[in-house]
């Protein structure tokens, strides 16, 4: 999120030279809802990064757990003196701590798969746009076919084929997502390709790699940033869904989806908090990312530029 450095509120001062980054930052900050979303997102990320420091207990250190504390409602007093603000699960684990650690895993899986998919999608999309011909037909045909099936179905096929595990979930997420990036970057590159600076670069007899990565790529980035933001949220939601179905991350990597699945069986006996609070954390994460993405879409859209 380096694009949203806090910029001084520059009101249209008589055309001072403004870097694109500054323009984007100041446009972004105009919308209070988006700023709220960004703040929320930063809080979530901070909670995930500093989970070991801010958690009341280490939820996966068995020495700190006591079965006597299991399934306590939110606000119960812990025997060690603290308070279980969000209650405990069936093993006496503090839910608040479990959520912080779960956020870590969920965000990490989401971010890792997005970065990998972005790299693959960019390369494929740019290759298709720059070289055209057979390569383009082949790549875009695969993209078309893949995008005509819902993500959840492709994910399930891949999990059924690959088996379970963290690496395999990430593989499945990457396989689903690269197609979105490839399609987006290709359409952006098709427009950029016809511009004069590209012609100039070709006249200088630069190598194709240099033209693609130094000249074409930076000009195709704005729409990619928007798609990537939306896709992080989608990846996190999909991972949670897979984990809930018991086909995602292993028990040793308790993401938010697994925490929710774990609480499912206690829901019917009225012990709502084991499923409810991890779900709220998941929801806050996804909503804040979507709010940021919504505003980025407006800010980075050249047609809406003032």
């Amino acid at each position: 999120m380096s694009t949203v450095l806090p910029a001084p509120a520059v009101k249209p001062v008589p055309r001072a030279p403004q870097t694109p980054l500054r323009r984007v930052a100041s446009d972004f900050l105009e919308n209070p809802v988006a700023v709220f979303g960004l703040g929320l997102l930063l809080l979530v990320i901070a909670a995930a990064i500093f989970a070991p420091l801010i958690s009341p207990q280490n939820p996966y250190d068995l020495a700190q757990l006591d079965v006597m504390d299991s399934k306590l409602p939110p606000g119960s007093k812990a025997p060690t003196g603290g308070t279980f603000w969000l209650g405990t699960d069936d093993q006496g684990r503090d839910m608040l701590s479990a959520i912080f650690y779960g956020l870590r895993i969920s965000l990490m899986v989401g971010a890792a798969s997005t970065v990998l998919a972005l790299v693959i999608g960019l390369t494929m999309g740019l290759t298709a746009a720059y070289f055209g011909g057979r390569i383009e037909t082949l790549i875009m045909r695969v993209v078309d076919i893949q995008l005509s099936f819902p993500a959840i179905l492709i994910a399930l096929i891949l999990i059924a084929v690959l088996g379970q595990g963290t690496g395999k979930v990430i593989t499945a997420l990457v396989t689903i997502q690269w197609a979105y990036y490839a399609r987006t970057v290709r359409s952006a590159a098709m427009v950029e390709k016809r511009k004069e600076y590209m012609e100039a670069a070709r006249c200088l007899a630069l190598s194709p790699a240099r033209i693609v990565f130094r000249h074409l790529l930076p000009n195709c980035l704005p729409p990619m940033i928007v798609v990537a933001t939306v896709q992080v949220a989608a990846a996190i939601a999909l991972e949670a869904t897979l984990s809930f179905l018991g086909l995602g991350l292993p028990i040793t990597e308790p993401s938010l989806g697994l925490l929710i699945a774990n609480g499912y069986q206690y829901l019917l006996s009225g012990k709502y908090w084991i499923s409810f609070f991890p779900g709220v954390a998941l929801l806050v994460t996804i909503v804040s990312i979507n709010l940021v993405a919504d505003q980025l879409r407006d800010v980075l859209n050249p047609r809406l530029q003032r």
Binding site: F149, V161, T241, L283, V287, N290
Partner: protein, 326 residues
């Protein structure tokens, strides 16, 4: 037109064939179903008999050849677990999934189009803004968690609706078992259908709103107003008709994704449909059922996509199918 339909159908067959090969090889590599399906206490002779009965001793290509020959005659192999034809198992559960998907789609359309129209006509009003905020929430809420929360509120806290299963079914037209004809069955259907509808509802609201705002600025709307038509007629006939074209397409395309997403809803509400069968089969490594499910759903998708393409050209004469890349 005819040429287009034929060419698309040929293409679909190729996709179906490629998918069957990919899925078959992939699923074969998961693990050894022998270890899971045959009693570990069984002696060597029993094991070998079971392996031969399931056809697991043959080489991979031969298993695929048998499978392909069977597939062309509608026989997709026997379930390892249920020992009945896999295709039969899936078709048996298809009505439950279809009922759920159609109910969800009806809810999404019945609420989504009016709400989207309202939000599009009054984008700055309180109602319009709340509808849009609600639709962002609809996009962001993970389906399975909403399902859990529905169960928590309406089954556990209020005790109004049953939390799982399908309830009693009645035969529709004497052949299709459905739930919605009896009150008990309907009460089982409400929550899963609403749960499945939410995402599509949000999508339809946004789509209708965008379409409405766009067509309100068009000349034909200005002209209709200048002619002195009532507001209701301008919106009901002129605006609605034009925004309906993209909406019909999306409804068609999304129907497939509703069937796919039913996997999640069915698991939450223990709805006895195809999706739940798939999840159970993945957990038990019941290969023939997984492969058959995937082939059935891929075939379903191909038919839906084809139907939508053809329908689209019928609705909007501006679309020329022969020009579409095919």
């Amino acid at each position: 037109m005819l040429v287009y339909v034929i060419r698309r159908s040929m293409q679909s067959v190729v996709v179906l064939f490629a998918m069957s090969l990919l899925v078959f090889i992939g699923v074969y590599a998961i693990g050894n179903p022998i270890d899971i399906l045959i009693n570990p206490q069984a002696d060597q002779i029993d094991r070998e008999r079971a392996i031969a009965a399931l056809g697991l001793d043959k080489p991979l290509w031969e298993q695929y050849a048998v499978f392909l020959k069977g597939a062309l005659t509608g026989n997709l192999g026997k379930s390892f677990v249920h020992a009945t034809p896999a295709l039969g198992l899936i078709l048996e559960r298809m009505p439950a999934t279809m009922e759920l998907a159609i109910a969800a789609m009806v809810i999404a359309v019945a609420l989504g189009i009016p709400l989207g129209l309202w939000a599009g006509l009054k984008p700055n009003g309180i109602a319009g803004r709340s509808i849009m905020a609600g639709s962002i929430l609809g996009f962001s809420l993970p389906t399975f968690w909403v399902g859990l929360m529905l169960i928590m509120v309406f089954s556990v806290m209020l005790g109004w609706l049953p939390s799982n299963g399908r309830g009693p079914t009645t035969m529709l037209l004497g052949i299709i078992p459905v739930s919605f004809l009896s009150w008990d069955g309907l009460s089982h259907l409400i929550m899963p259908a609403v749960n499945l509808a939410l995402f599509k509802l949000a999508l339809l609201i946004r789509l209708t709103r965008a379409g409405t705002r766009e067509s309100l600025m068009q000349d034909y709307v200005k002209f209709a107003r200048a002619k002195g038509l009532t507001n209701g007629r301008v919106i009901g006939v002129h605006v609605l008709r034009n925004i309906l074209i993209p909406i019909v397409t999306v409804i068609g395309l999304e129907f497939g994704s509703v069937i796919a997403f039913a996997i999640v809803t069915e698991s939450v509400f223990a709805w006895p449909g195809m999706g739940k069968l798939l999840i159970d089969s993945i957990n038990l490594l019941d290969r023939p059922v997984i492969v058959s499910y995937l082939l059935v759903i891929v075939a379903l998708f191909i038919v839906i996509n084809l139907a939508v393409d053809v329908l689209y050209s019928a609705l909007d004469p501006r679309v020329r199918l022969s020009e579409a890349k095919g």
